[in-house]
Symmetry: C2
Subunit: 244 residues, 2 copies
DNA sequence: GCAAAGATATGTTATACAGCACAAAATTAC
DNA sequence: GTAATTTTGTGCTGTATAACATATCTTTGC
């Protein structure tokens, strides 16, 4: 991970330009702020480039910053029993991470790492908390986001516990399509996960993720080429997901 | 379900007194408000008495009110595959329910019903939203609450998916103790759930909830008398929950 | 280019748990 | 007080899926 703004610190003009570009991408959040608050934020943030498979934050750490994913992809996961990880969500640009634990007065109970090279803005949590307490509209932004995530989390609990293995994998593939979309061909998922990550997302062993994906391919529901997955028959996939 | 304030509407003094008492119990929320906002709230709320096993809100309904549980106990659950319900959380006084779906712009994806006779305040969601947008401190109250619930939900996902049946039941018993506490004897859980509800909380069949609870009793971890459950050996229960 | 390490694939075995059947006990209804 | 219904308890069977073993294919490092 390297801090872009630090690297550019000797050419202040360029640094300011980078920060401005970041704030522009974070418009959904920034638009709630007045000029003074925008200034406070722009003084507080730093920009960082992560390589693939780098850790953004660790389980058990005390949260100091929240993260805004500007480009790339990040997985948020819990370390489960016997080294088996459970991916609880995947983030795409422009989404925010790492504030939940701080707002709930606790340490991180999840970890996060990049699935691809990613550009991330770090915002000190003390600054965000102050801004929320003086700006109700910003608070509302977080409330909406949290409510959506809580809904998704409750949904996931039932999906992962009650559906059979085929239903869980089908659900995950549809989830990935909904979150990251498809490439220009209209079929290939715009994310290349390892079978292990696919398994961790679907609450199954790696072997079973491989096996079940092969079965889906044999049934002509998907077309698999290494980590590229084309979703051919979305309707039947949806049906499999529904029926468990 | 009957509306207490309506029943008393001819004696305005008594009605006002009831509303004031309610606002007093809701102090954690009400303390964030100024006098004018308190007045808006007190004009908007109604008080309702629910019998045991009454539905507070249904799956699929459009949310119009949020609920504040003043006394009693409520379960929030999702209808799963094949009629098997999954209890996602249980509420105790004084906690708030039914606002998530509205803030996320959706319909209820859970249902809620009383586990005991319960007194509930209904607050129109439009009123709460307006108050949040003009009062950052109230927004912060909801952010904190949501962050705690989201953490609990993520935790539950891993517990329910990765732990074995004994671990899941142990976890549920500890969860109930932590949420509702124990009676004067220091051991008996202050909530009497049916074996079916205990199963729905622990993601297992009713038979297995009964069987596993009997095993716990045989192992002298708990003492069971009908729906009364005494937790005898909390330390070992905690161990079983940890190890899965 | 080759060795080493990691990811993917597939078959076999073991087991935890659901599903079902049925009995006993407790609660509710009349 | 008796019948009907619901809840609780126990045993048996089947099966979904984890766990393990092993082979092949792919990537990485030198």
């Amino acid at each position: 991970m390297c801090c872009i703004t630090y690297l550019c610190s000797k050419k202040m003009g360029k640094k300011d330009k980078i920060i401005t570009e970041c704030l522009c991408k974070m418009n959904e959040l920034v638009n709630t702020l007045n000029e003074k608050q925008k200034d406070v934020l722009s003084q507080a943030i730093t920009v960082h480039q992560y390589k693939k498979n780098e850790t953004v934050y660790h389980y058990g750490e005390t949260p100091k910053h929240m993260f805004c994913l500007l480009s790339g992809k990040i997985k948020v996961y819990k370390e489960g029993i016997g080294g088996r990880n459970q991916i609880v969500r995947v983030a795409k640009p422009v989404e925010y991470l790492g504030y939940r634990a701080y707002f709930a007065n606790g340490k991180f109970i999840t970890a996060a790492s990049t699935l691809e090279p990613s550009c991330v803005v770090k915002i000190p949590l003390t600054v965000i908390k102050e801004l929320i307490l003086e700006n109700a509209e910003l608070g509302w932004f977080f409330i909406k986001t949290l409510c959506q995530e809580l809904g998704r989390s409750d949904q996931r609990t039932v999906n992962l516990t009650q559906k059979h293995i085929r239903g869980r994998l089908a659900e995950s593939l549809l989830y990935l399509k909904e979150r990251y979309g498809v490439e220009a061909d209209g079929y290939t998922l715009s994310i290349y996960l390892s079978r292990e990550d696919l398994a961790n997302l679907s609450n199954m062993t790696t072997s079973n993720a491989i096996r079940t994906l092969s079965l889906f391919a044999a049934d002509k529901l998907v077309l698999v080429d290494g980590r590229k997955i084309k979703i051919i028959d979305e309707e039947r996939l949806r049906q499999i997901s529904r029926l468990g």
